[in-house]
Symmetry: C2
Amino acid sequence: MVVTIKDVARLAGVSVSSVSRTLASPESVRPGTRERVLRAAAEVGYSPNAAARALTTGRTYNVGLVVPDLANPFFPTVVKAIQSRAREFDYSVLLVDTDEDPSAEVELIRKLVKQVDGFLLCGPRAADEDLRSFIGETPVVTVNRRVGPIPSVICDHTDGVRQAVGHLAALGHRAIAYVGGPRASAVNRERARGLRSMCTSMGIELVDLGNAAPNFDGGAAAADLVLAAPVTAVLAYNDLQALGLVSRFKERGASVPEQISVVGFDDIPLAGQVSPRLTTIAQRGDLLGRAAVDLLLDLLQDRVGAGGPRRVMPTQLIVRGSTGPAAA
Amino acid sequence: MVVTIKDVARLAGVSVSSVSRTLASPESVRPGTRERVLRAAAEVGYSPNAAARALTTGRTYNVGLVVPDLANPFFPTVVKAIQSRAREFDYSVLLVDTDEDPSAEVELIRKLVKQVDGFLLCGPRAADEDLRSFIGETPVVTVNRRVGPIPSVICDHTDGVRQAVGHLAALGHRAIAYVGGPRASAVNRERARGLRSMCTSMGIELVDLGNAAPNFDGGAAAADLVLAAPVTAVLAYNDLQALGLVSRFKERGASVPEQISVVGFDDIPLAGQVSPRLTTIAQRGDLLGRAAVDLLLDLLQDRVGAGGPRRVMPTQLIVRGSTGPAAA
DNA sequence: TTGTAAGCGTTATCAC
DNA sequence: GTGATAACGCTTACAA
């Protein structure tokens, strides 16, 4: 049998209310009482039943963490940061992987809504209206996506694109291609949009190669399209694709970056090491995750976040070797 | 206000018990009742409060999932499989990342013990006795580690080592080095032990290079030791290290596999693609995860697993390009 | 087959 | 400061 608050109360010779109070706000009981309670609790190894507590307080001390695909190396960083930060505040993390499926995402959130105090939606793939339907029901913070008034933590992807295009333009590139990611990804849309406007304003020609799978194979598959296009550089939706591009380029005998420059996004852990010359636009998944937790907790405390309901994190261009010249 | 079972009962014109019964075992109520209840439930969008249910039944429908480091690319595969399989049975997954810290591991498990029906411990780093202290208190399944009588799902790492050494021996290698992983990792110990016995029995000289960080840098750092050792091949604790070794070898001008053969473990997602010639011993993280969930659920149902409390999954040598000859 | 009511472990609202 | 006691939402004997 497990030990309950009653056992502690009996052992300490006080009522259950005193035990509860001692644990909740030790200063509200007489020192003598406090001591006996704490001693008793320690002796029997008491720890409160979360379900019972949730039932009375309405707070579960759980957060729902939803990610599109944990196999995408960008997310583990975020998830780690979130779980670590949440633990600092005694929150547990309920993890859900939606496998990039928008409808599964909605359904899973629905199922979890009573089990958590709030949600952290990382790069949610569901439609705006579906996401909006949750707000009001339960606190939600989106990561890397803006949905109406929902509080969010996002990276400044547009600025990232600006840096990348600026860099390529400075090297002399006049025409670049973009290999897109999941259609449902808001980050992908933002990158594509930013890219269009940047290229327009800088007089650079942009070839949109459509959407590819957000992984190595997706990039590799798109490589032939890139070579067939009249471009000297290619931006990929993420580093996995970029690695796939580089790999396939090598197979095709196209040297990187001499003949074709490749730029990825995210700065995922292994990429820079296995491909020491890969240029990428870094986003700090750890900072995103941490900030997201802090924002959600602010929401739960009914205190508006110091910086308002939206936080924007910087992105940073990382040129490891050389992105290479178009040097026409 | 949220909708409770009472609301449904009122709307359906029945008692709360009828609602409860309908949801739990529809066949136990009269069809008419059932229909009204279900209709009412759907109308108000009722979903049971997990905390309340947990309080009465003693079952949380949560499993605690503990991993040493989600940034290690082997684990996302396992975690994905676990969360997906758990969901099939309406179980939620509480994720904990211990950052390779054995004492944090124990503490975190302790904190979660009341919130879950059981634990899935992936490659736990804690000491046997600490782990054993949980058994009895709560159902536990370990993945890739055997601890006394605790049910487990493991890969046959010893056989993997056998395959690897056999392969290297066939190629003519007579002396090989081993770059170890975390001291607290049981998998590392098993690999090292298997390696020693295999080498002994096959008359191959083994140089143990001690423990290195289980990542790219750890491998890279160990590369110089390898080159200084009188060996023609090196086994790394995992693929990340193997990639680091290959990278550093290249810097040092040692060609792989002509001058030195490299074999990794795990067959992590990106490795084979960025390093198309990497030889590795694959373990199927997805199968491990799935089997672990099934085993834990068997435990929770008080039915002994069909295959007993321990399941062993195969490992497989994967030679992508060529491991390369010692060909002395 | 259905309803009533006790009880799960905790917190919160009262009196005292 | 402290102790009864009523919730919280649900399941489950037990009665009917």
